[in-house]
């Protein structure tokens, strides 16, 4: 379990990025931390593997205080995928890029090789294994940065802004991957301001605004609540928006996906003769 207890964080420049944040993430949960730019999402995520240590309060990973361990030690449990993948690449090939981390965590050669192949196939990068990471496209780089982290199967997978700069096919792929991770029992924490991407995953949603949590609950109740979203400078996603407008016709506004909305709407429509 990840326990964030009343964390306040002030950057050396004096900016107070977190003003008393408390939350718990249990094993197997899928959590989306949402909020506008500068709300503290990334600052919060960087506390989870000890890159930042709280100015006040504490962060416990399975009961272990982040202040008492190094980032390298904590990362074995909490794998963070950063927003810009370029910062982590240095190897000649995609293969060795993934292999390197596994060696860092002490896997044997045989086990490391097995894992590299598994994760590169999972992320559809096996065909690029001999290419330089720097020559990949934006979407492929993103997938590689996720592959690097998944390779050592951290108990908690943290992805910062998974959809930033990703096209539609890649978004779809990411969505499938995250669902798959969840189905396999992994704990996944995402940060995003992309309500349309998050809504299909139906995660637990935590809204962050100016360093404070303004709402915490299931997607069904948060992503359909215009007032709550507005406090985090987010807009209602399209499906809840249209269902809200249709509520005067008696439809249930609590739908999240196209399929749900379609079912709800068509149940009230009469088929046209001749079709």
């Amino acid at each position: 379990m990840i326990e964030v207890g009343n964390v306040r964080y002030v950057y050396p420049s004096g900016v107070e990025a977190l003003r008393g944040v408390s939350l718990e993430v249990r094993e197997g949960e899928l959590v989306a931390i949402m909020g506008e730019n500068g709300s503290g999402k990334t600052t919060l995520l960087r506390h989870l593997n000890g890159l930042l240590k709280p100015t006040e309060g504490r962060v416990l990973i399975d009961g272990q205080d982040t202040r008492e361990s190094t980032v390298a030690e904590l990362s074995r449990k909490v794998g963070i995928v950063f927003q810009s993948p370029d910062a982590m690449f240095f190897s000649e090939t995609v293969y060795s890029e993934v292999y390197f981390s596994l060696k860092m965590f002490g896997y044997t050669d045989a086990e490391a090789s097995r894992r590299v192949e598994w994760v590169l196939r999972l992320m559809d990068l096996w065909k690029y294994r001999d290419r330089s990471p720097f020559t990949l496209s934006g979407g492929e780089k993103k997938r590689l940065s996720i592959a690097i982290v998944l390779a050592w199967q951290p108990k908690y997978v943290v992805i910062d802004e998974p959809t930033a700069g990703q096209d539609a096919p890649n978004r779809k792929r990411l969505e499938q991957l995250i669902s798959k991770l969840r189905n396999e029992g992994a704990t996944v924490i995402l940060s995003s301001h992309d309500v349309e991407f998050i809504i299909d995953l139906r995660p637990r949603v935590i809204l962050l605004s100016r360093g404070r949590i303004v709402a915490d609950g299931p997607a069904e109740s948060i992503l359909t609540d215009e007032d709550k979203l507005e406090r985090a400078s987010l807009l209602l996603p399209q499906i809840p928006l249209i269902m809200k407008k249709l509520a005067v016709y008696g439809v249930n506004p609590g739908c999240l996906t196209v399929d749900e909305a379609l079912r709800e709407i068509t149940s009230r429509l009469k088929p046209v003769r001749g079709w």
């Binding site: 890159l51 390298a72 990362s75 810009s84 370029d86 910062a87 982590m88 240095f90 050592w152």
Partner: protein
């Protein structure tokens, strides 16, 4: 590992009398400090006295310019070098048979001198906008493209410092140990920082070159500037006072007035 040493090059846009001063005057004063500190380099001829006076004035100017904290961060970053200088002198205790008093004097004097030296440049860079540094250089007849390169170098130093931090964070997050373990291993791990750093710097320079071309860099021979340096009466009087003090310091040196003083 901290990169605070580079704080001394970070300009903060605040409005203080020091920031308002003409950058040419500030540069002049920085050079005066620098020359005086260099000049008074002999022992028992006022080295410590002059360094102390210079550093006091510098601290005063930094305080008025509200950048004392950034300077302190730089000093904290430079602490290993400062310690090294002090230690080098103390080591003399074991090498030559010299009185301990002299060794102590040297350790203190050379350290203070180095601090005065460091602060003279920080004073200029901490309170002068990079653009103004460029203006000063063009005023000194440096071709604009070279002046621009200098300005870009100053402006990008903190950006690159941030970048190094980011890369280190990314590598630590994939199991690379920078915080614990033996020194040789930690140093070896730094190589994994340099590759992404060099690539990002090269990429950044290409991007910047493109941005410059888009904005027609160098299209006109004679270039005007948004910010024009204006020499006011205050600037003139401060420059004159500083120059008089500087000449006095030089005279005092040649007349050996401070002979025998620490």
């Amino acid at each position: 590992m901290s990169l605070k040493i580079l704080d001394g090059l970070k300009f903060k846009n605040i409005d203080t009398p020091v920031h308002r001063l003409d950058p040419r005057v500030k540069l002049l004063i920085s050079i005066y400090f620098f020359v005086v500190v260099i000049l008074y380099g002999s022992e028992w001829r006022g080295m410590l006295t002059i360094s102390l006076i210079v550093i006091l004035v510098e601290v005063l100017v930094l305080a008025v310019g509200r950048v004392a904290r950034s300077m302190l961060n730089t000093l904290r970053g430079a602490a290993p070098i400062i310690l090294f200088i002090a230690l080098l002198q103390v080591l003399g205790l074991f090498t030559y048979s010299q009185p301990g008093e002299l060794i102590l004097y040297r350790a203190v004097a050379y350290t203070i001198r180095f601090l005065a030296f460091l602060a003279s440049f920080s004073l200029f860079f901490l309170t002068t906008m990079p653009d103004e540094v460029g203006n000063v250089l063009t005023f000194l007849k440096v071709p604009y493209s070279y002046a621009f390169a200098m300005v870009a170098a100053i402006r990008f130093t903190p950006v690159i410092a941030d970048e190094i931090q980011q890369i280190m964070d990314a590598q630590r997050s994939r199991g690379l140990e920078f915080e614990r373990g033996d020194l040789t291993k930690r140093l070896r791990n730094l190589t994994y920082v340099f590759v992404p750093l060099i690539i990002s710097i090269i990429r950044r320079s290409y991007e910047m070159a493109e941005a410059l071309e888009i904005k027609c860099f160098g299209a006109s021979k004679k270039r005007t500037s948004y910010r024009v340096l204006r020499f006011t009466a205050t600037d003139a009087s401060i420059a004159i006072i500083a120059s008089i003090l500087f000449v006095l310091a030089i005279l005092a040196y040649h007349l050996q007035t401070l002979q025998g003083l620490p």
